[in-house]
């Protein structure tokens, strides 16, 4: 006799086991149906950090949703936008590729380009872009998205770095626009002067990552430093590199710069806008960010100061549309990217102009878009960037993760870890040499 006193009346263990088996079988039987439905869908998924329903300004979300809607209105294969939280630091994108389920379209910065290119994830977009349009993208912009002359990403923007300052902080200190620093020494002095009990004078990015490297490179370049020499070996251990590391370290050690930033060094509103600092190292996108989210905070700008004997250089980053070479429909994904950002049609050019001048504040990656947006770049803050900052811009370097991490650790060690810049540069250079000796991917630029 079985002991089923705890069972509902009329049930026994065998009934439960049979029921469970039946449910399991039904579930398994349904899986292929779900798979079929997924496979049959004529939709390309575009992973991004703007839309739909993101925390980004409405104008940027609108630009993305309009772009998708315009494409979907004319194309049988639809594009669906998928907003990813924590796009840069999160793991969803890399996990999706690791499991063979990468999105059809996604965004990539030069800092992460080689990881995806070397992994074979990027589609060659060259066949989809008219030869004349290819020439419309300057090499300085497109170079880091090309391998062996083939295009693997189409940039949507160029984002050069500069400094922003709080007009109120300047006025409170008896300063005006004529007091902006021209040299590193002046920058540090000004930072100290503007530091108060509840505000830092000067802010550099402190969180380790691609973005911190990106913002630090121009200081290395200004003194003639490079991470790799013409012989393919590390050039990181140089006076210019040490000087750049020392600048950031001195800013921290003097108390003028914070060891922590709010939300991220790229966030103008959470730092300069919130009064956390008086001067912030940030990119061109800061203009739109401040106007859209902190319209009552007046700000000024100045280009990166230079070291003694150095020359002005800034870095021009920016994100690019890329297609998954192993996506559901790479051919259509390539056509979409060309249509969106790199076609001869006026609406393609205007889309770039709208992104760079209306939705955001950026420099266009296409010469024709600069021409078309001449009115916007002829006045105000954008004119300052177009005339003063952008001419000195150099493309954001592309490095594989191993090399980027070595440089990142050197910056962190000197800036925050109490390590002398000379030692940080020397250690990093040795590690870079060891890595470069075994590296087999596409060239680092």
């Amino acid at each position: 006799m079985s002991n089923d006193t705890n069972m509902p009346r009329g049930w026994n263990r065998r009934d439960i086991l049979r029921g469970s088996a039946a449910l399991g079988a039904a579930g398994l039987a349904g899986l292929p149906l779900i798979g079929n439905a997924y496979a049959q869908a004529k939709t390309l998924n575009f992973w991004n950090f703007y839309a739909p329903d993101s925390e980004q300004p409405k104008a940027q979300q609108d630009w993305w949703t309009k772009m998708a809607a315009d494409w979907n209105a004319k194309s049988e294969t639809k594009v669906e936008l998928d907003y990813l939280v924590d796009y840069m630091q999160g793991n969803k994108l890399s996990t999706s590729f690791a499991s063979g389920q990468g999105p059809d379209l996604f965004l990539i910065s030069p800092g992460d380009f080689l990881r995806y290119y070397n992994g074979g994830a990027l589609l060659d977009l060259t066949p989809f872009i008219d030869a004349d349009v290819q020439k419309d993208f300057p090499d300085a912009v497109m170079g880091t998205r090309k391998v062996d002359g083939k295009i693997y990403g189409v940039p949507m923007e160029v984002e050069p770095m500069a400094f922003y300052y709080s007009v109120k902080a300047f006025e409170d200190a008896g300063l005006n626009e004529n007091d902006v620093p021209k040299t590193w020494d002046e920058l540090l002095e000004l930072g100290k002067k503007l530091t108060t009990a509840d505000r830092y004078g000067l802010l550099f990015q402190t969180d380790a990552g691609y973005y911190q490297n990106f913002t630090w490179y121009p200081f290395m370049w200004q003194g003639g430093g490079e991470f790799q020499g013409a012989d393919g070996k590390s050039a990181f251990n140089s006076p210019a590199t040490v000087a750049a590391l020392k600048l950031w370290k001195d800013a921290i050690d003097s108390g003028a710069a914070p060891r922590q930033v709010n939300a991220g060094g790229f966030d103008m509103v959470a730092n300069l806008g919130a009064g956390y600092c008086a001067i912030q190292n940030c990119g061109i996108w800061g203009i739109a960010a401040m106007k859209q989210n902190a319209p009552d905070t007046p700000f000024g700008m100045f280009k990166l100061p230079i070291p003694t004997g150095g020359k002005y250089v800034t870095v021009g980053g920016g994100w690019a549309f890329v297609a998954n070479a192993k996506g559901k429909d790479p051919d259509t994904a390539g056509k979409f990217i060309a249509w969106a950002l790199a076609s001869k049609e006026q609406d393609s050019v205007q889309r770039v102009v709208d992104w760079c001048t209306v939705a955001k504040s950026d420099m266009p990656p296409r010469q024709s878009a600069i021409e078309a947006g001449k009115a916007a770049y002829g006045q105000g803050e954008l004119k300052f960037f177009a005339d003063e900052v952008y001419p000195g811009a150099r493309g954001e370097p592309r490095l594989p993760p191993e090399a980027y991490k070595i440089i990142s650790d050197a910056i962190q060690a000197a800036q925050l870890g109490g390590i002398e810049p000379e030692k940080a540069a020397e250690d990093a250079s040795k590690q870079l040499d060891a890595f470069l000796a075994t590296y087999k991917g596409a060239p680092m630029l």
Partner: protein, 320 residues
């Protein structure tokens, strides 16, 4: 019917398997055993499929160069050799061991201390227990963000409090000398209520008569604690030490708070090994190297658990 026949048929009716079982050729004992296995089968299959197989695959992956895009190349022990020369790995190992050595005793002492304070059931203690346990109700991410704001340089409440005491220039999360201890304190604050509950359960299992007998014999509170409470809490202590050990080396507490509050910085000073594994796998797509490091995490956990077992005899009582 003769009486002897009646007794034989009754015995047969009680010992024979039912018709269905006879049809299957199983005895009652075999049927019970089979049913037992069938009932634990879902759990076993789940653990095997979702924990066992991934563990074996992960350990195997440590011998491959896996780039995260479908390429697998057998590299033997190369990932382990790479670890030897990876200064960040050794730094993360040091941070992990320090974190473990500090966190486990801190959780034990704070959890037991709170439990002793609020073990008696009355209205005030019930409220206090709820307050101590309250952080558990909130997402770790939210906890991390709130403490990050509180600890912000110059403008955070904690920084302002320190400044009011004349202590300036201290960056609670931005200085390598403070960041790990700040995250550690937040972790203890977050978890101590949970461990308090476990200890309260253990304390309530100790018969009151022991304390009364000790009191009659002239034992004070401290003596009662050392000679009654602590020895009889041995199984609870073992459990608490074990799960806090796992939490400190590979738990979500070790990862989530660090990810949110410091992202392993500044200068890798809060980068515990499990965080570096995450970075290698998901930010650098070095899945093979990450898997090799994960196997080191497993070894650390096994060694620490073995030491714990030896020190506490697996939580068994000492009957001598």
């Amino acid at each position: 019917m003769p009486a002897s026949h009646a007794s034989i048929s009754t015995a047969a009716a009680t010992s024979d398997p039912p018709i269905a079982a006879r049809r299957a050729g199983l005895t009652n004992r075999q049927r019970e055993v089979l049913a037992g296995y069938l009932f634990i089968a879902p759990d076993f299959i789940g653990l095997f499929v979702f924990v066992g197989i991934p563990m074996v695959l992960a350990l195997t992956m440590g011998f491959f160069d896996v780039n995260g895009f479908g390429q697998f190349n057998f590299v033997g022990l190369a990932n382990y050799q790479k670890m030897l020369g990876d200064t960040v790995f050794w730094q993360c190992l040091r941070v992990t061991l320090l974190y473990m050595v500090l966190l486990v005793p801190s959780l034990y002492v704070s959890g037991l201390g709170l439990a002793l304070l609020v073990q008696r059931s009355n209205r005030f203690n019930t409220v206090m227990r709820s307050i101590f346990f309250a952080p558990q109700m909130v997402s770790l991410v939210v906890i991390g963000l709130v403490w990050q704001l509180l600890s912000a340089d110059k403008v955070g409440v904690l920084s302002r409090g320190l400044a009011a005491l004349g202590i300036t220039g201290v960056s609670l999360l931005g200085s390598p000398g403070f960041a790990l201890y700040t995250t550690l304190l937040v972790t203890v604050w977050f978890l101590m209520g949970f461990y308090m509950l476990i200890f309260i359960g253990g304390l309530q299992d100790i018969p009151r008569e022991y304390y009364e007998a000790a009191e009659i014999d002239g034992a004070g509170r401290v003596q009662s604690f050392w000679h009654i409470t602590l020895p009889l809490l041995r199984p609870t202590s073992f459990f608490v030490l074990l799960i806090s050990l796992v939490a400190s080396v590979a738990g979500s507490q070790a990862f989530d708070l660090i990810y949110v509050m410091t992202k392993g910085g500044p200068a890798n000073s809060t980068s515990v090994l499990i965080f570096y594994v995450y970075q290698q796998a998901f930010q650098y797509s070095a899945f093979g190297y990450a898997a090799a490091m994960a196997s080191i995490v497993v070894v650390i956990l096994m060694l620490a658990t073995a030491v714990l077992f030896l020190m506490t005899r697996g939580g068994r009582f000492n009957y001598e």
